[in-house]
C-alpha cells in the first residue's frame, strides 16, 4: 500500500460436532385455539438466536399454514414447559425442531381422525392444509380446522373429540460416550464444516492493524431463515474476531485478574467491525429438521486462525498466540518466544 502499510488475507477452516449428553432430549407441545390458531411450547430459551421463530416456521411448514397463526410461547415455566436439554451447543433448532415436527405429526393424526369421522372418509385419504382437512382427491369434501380442533358438534348436539394437543420429543440416535483414551465415540450426529477468511491492513511501524473484511461460508444443510442465519454467523464472526484480537484476562503472578471489569476487558464495538460477508452452501443433514445443520456457534471457530494467518503473512512472522495485540505481534517480530 505504502512504505509502512501491508494488506494481507488469511483463511481458516473448521469442522465441529456438537457433543452433548447422549440422552439430552427436547420436547414440544402444540395446542389449538378455538379460531384454529396454534400455540407452540418448547423449552428452548430465546437468548437472541431466533430459534423460536424458526421453530414456528418449522411448525407452519408441517401444518401447511401461515406462521402468523402460530403463537410462540416465549415464557418458560420449569414446572410444566416441556424439557429442552439445554439451550447450548448449537442444538436448539436440531433437537427442538425434530420435537416440533413430531408434535405436529401427532396433532395432524388427531385432526385427520376426527375429520375422517365427520367427512365419512378414510383418514389416509385426507390431508391438512390452509386451515382445512380435505379429501386429497376432492378438496370440496372438507372441514375447517377450527370446527374440529375443540371437538366436533353435530347439528343435533352430539359431539366427538375435544381440544387437540400434539406432543413430540426427540433424542439423538445411538450417541455414546467418547473413549477418554482414544477419543473414539459418537458425540453427536453430524459434522459441520465451513471456511472463513479475514483481510487486514497492518501498519509495520507499531503493528496496529485494521480489520477490513471478513468472510464466512458455512454448510447450513438447509437455510431455514436467511436473515436469522446470516445474523447468527455474523455475530459469531464478530465474537471470534474479538476473541482473536483483544479478549483475554490478564493475571498477576499470584493469579489475580487485572482486568476484572468491562472498563479494561474490551470487546469489539460497532464501528470497529470489518465488512462482513456471509454465504452458505446447502448439503442437507438427513436427521436435521428439513435438512438443517447446526449454525449457532460455527461462525466463530476459524476466525482466530484466519486473522492469525493474515497477520502472520503481513508481519512475516508466525503468530501462534492469542489475542493478537499489536504489541504481541511486535514482540514476535522482535524474536521473543511465544509461550
Amino acid at each position: 500500500m505504502d512504505a509502512h502499510t501491508i494488506r494481507a488475507k488469511g483463511i481458516g477452516c473448521f469442522w465441529k460436532n456438537s457433543s452433548i449428553d447422549p440422552d439430552g432430549s427436547s420436547g414440544a407441545i402444540v395446542s389449538f385455539n378455538q379460531d384454529g390458531s396454534l400455540n407452540l411450547e418448547t423449552g428452548v430459551v430465546e437468548i437472541g438466536t431466533g430459534t423460536k421463530t424458526i421453530l414456528a416456521q418449522i411448525l407452519a411448514e408441517r401444518m401447511r399454514m401461515s406462521p402468523d397463526h402460530i403463537h410462540v410461547k416465549f415464557k418458560i415455566s420449569t414446572d410444566i414447559t416441556p424439557e429442552h436439554w439445554k439451550t447450548v451447543a448449537s442444538r436448539g433448532t436440531f433437537l427442538a425442531g425434530r420435537a416440533v415436527l413430531k408434535a405436529a405429526d401427532d396433532a395432524i393424526r388427531q385432526l385427520l381422525d376426527i375429520a375422517a369421522c365427520v367427512l365419512r372418509a378414510d383418514p389416509v385419504d385426507l390431508e391438512l392444509g390452509h386451515g382445512y382437512v380435505y379429501a386429497r382427491a376432492d378438496p370440496s369434501v372438507r372441514i375447517a380446522v377450527k370446527d374440529i380442533c375443540y371437538g366436533y358438534k353435530y347439528p343435533n348436539g352430539n359431539s366427538i373429540g375435544g381440544q387437540i394437543i400434539g406432543r413430540g420429543h426427540y433424542i439423538q440416535r445411538r450417541m455414546n460416550y467418547t473413549n477418554p483414551e482414544t477419543g473414539e465415540g459418537t458425540p453427536g450426529p453430524e459434522w459441520n464444516v465451513g471456511a472463513q477468511a479475514v483481510e487486514i491492513e497492518l501498519d509495520t511501524r507499531d503493528y496496529s492493524y485494521k480489520l477490513l473484511k471478513a468472510i464466512s461460508v458455512n454448510d447450513a444443510g438447509k437455510v431455514l431463515n436467511p436473515k436469522a442465519a446470516k445474523g447468527q454467523v455474523m455475530g459469531a464472526m464478530s465474537m471470534g474476531l474479538s476473541f482473536a484480537n483483544r479478549e483475554t484476562f490478564m493475571f498477576s503472578g499470584e493469579g489475580a485478574i487485572y482486568n476484572a471489569s468491562l472498563r479494561d476487558y474490551n470487546v469489539i464495538r460497532y464501528g470497529e467491525n470489518p465488512e462482513y460477508v456471509v454465504e452458505f452452501i446447502e448439503s442437507p443433514c438427513l436427521d436435521g429438521p428439513y435438512g438443517a445443520r447446526a449454525l449457532g456457534e460455527h461462525g466463530l471457530i476459524a476466525m482466530p486462525a484466519a486473522l492469525a494467518a493474515a497477520l502472520s503473512r503481513a508481519a512475516g512472522v508466525q503468530l501462534n498466540r492469542l489475542p493478537l495485540f499489536p504489541e504481541t505481534i511486535w514482540r514476535a517480530k522482535m524474536g521473543e518466544p511465544q509461550p
Binding site: 511501524r205 496496529s208 483483544r246 490478564m250 504489541e327 511486535w330
Partner: protein
Amino acid sequence: MIPYNFDYYAPATVAEAAALFQRLDAEGKQPLYYSGGTEIITIGRINRIYTEAVIDLKRIPDCRQAAVQSGKLVLGSALTLSELYDSRVFPLLGETGAGVADRTSRNKITFGGNICSKFIYREAVLPLLLTDSEVRIAGPGGARQTPIAEAFDGQLRLGRGEFVVQTVTDESYARMPYVTIKKRKVAAIDYPLVTVAALRTSEGIRIAFSGVCAFPFRSQAVERMLNRRELPLRDRIDQSIALFPAPVISDIKGSAAYRELVLKLVMEQTMRALGGE
C-alpha cells in the same frame, strides 16, 4: 448497585457548595463534590469510593459557564466533554476530551471531573498546560485563581473542600495550530497507551503527555530539546524522552518498551504536523 446510602445536595452557588462541604465534613459524612458522577458510580459500586453525601456542582451557574470575557475564554468545570467538543470554542480541548471514554459517557463526564479524575490520565488538563491557563478554585477558605503550572503537579493540588469552578485561557491560544493524538492498545475506546497534545506558538512547539508516565505532564526541558531544530528530529525525540519527569509506565495496556515505540511515532507525527522538523 452502590452498596451504601448517601445524601444528595444541589447547591445553587459556589459559596453554598463550599459551606456545605465544610459542614458535612465536620459531621463526618466524607462528602464528595459530584459533577458527571461517572467515577463515583463506577468506583462506588466496587466499594473503592465511600461517601455519605455528594454535593452536585452542576446547578451552580459559574460551573456551567462558557464565555469570552475581555479576551479570556472562561470555561466552567461542570461543562461536559461532549459540550466542549460540540461547541468548538477551544478545538484543542474539545478534541483531546473527545478521546476520553465513549460519547455516551462523555455526555456525563465533565471537564472538572476529568481533570480531578482518580485515574492517571486526566487528558483534559493537557490543553490547559499547553496554554498556560489559570484555574479558578473555590473552597471554605474563599476563592483563588492560580496558574495551572502551579496548581497541577501530576494532579490538581486542592486544599480540603476546594473544587474547580472555572478555567481561564487566553483566547488567542484557541486559534493556534494544534495536534492531539491518542493511541490505544487495540480498541477504539480505551485508556491511552499514549496521548499527546501539542500547540505551535510563535516561540515554538509546546507538547504535553498523558498515559506515558504515571501522571499527565508538560515539561520545559522536553520542549526545549524538541525545539532545537539544529538537531535531526529523531535525535531530538530520543533525547527528550530521556528528560521525561518519570519512567515510562508498564501496565496491562502495554509495556514500557512498546509504549516508547508508539510514543516516538506519535511525537514524530506531531512534530511534522506542526512543521517542527
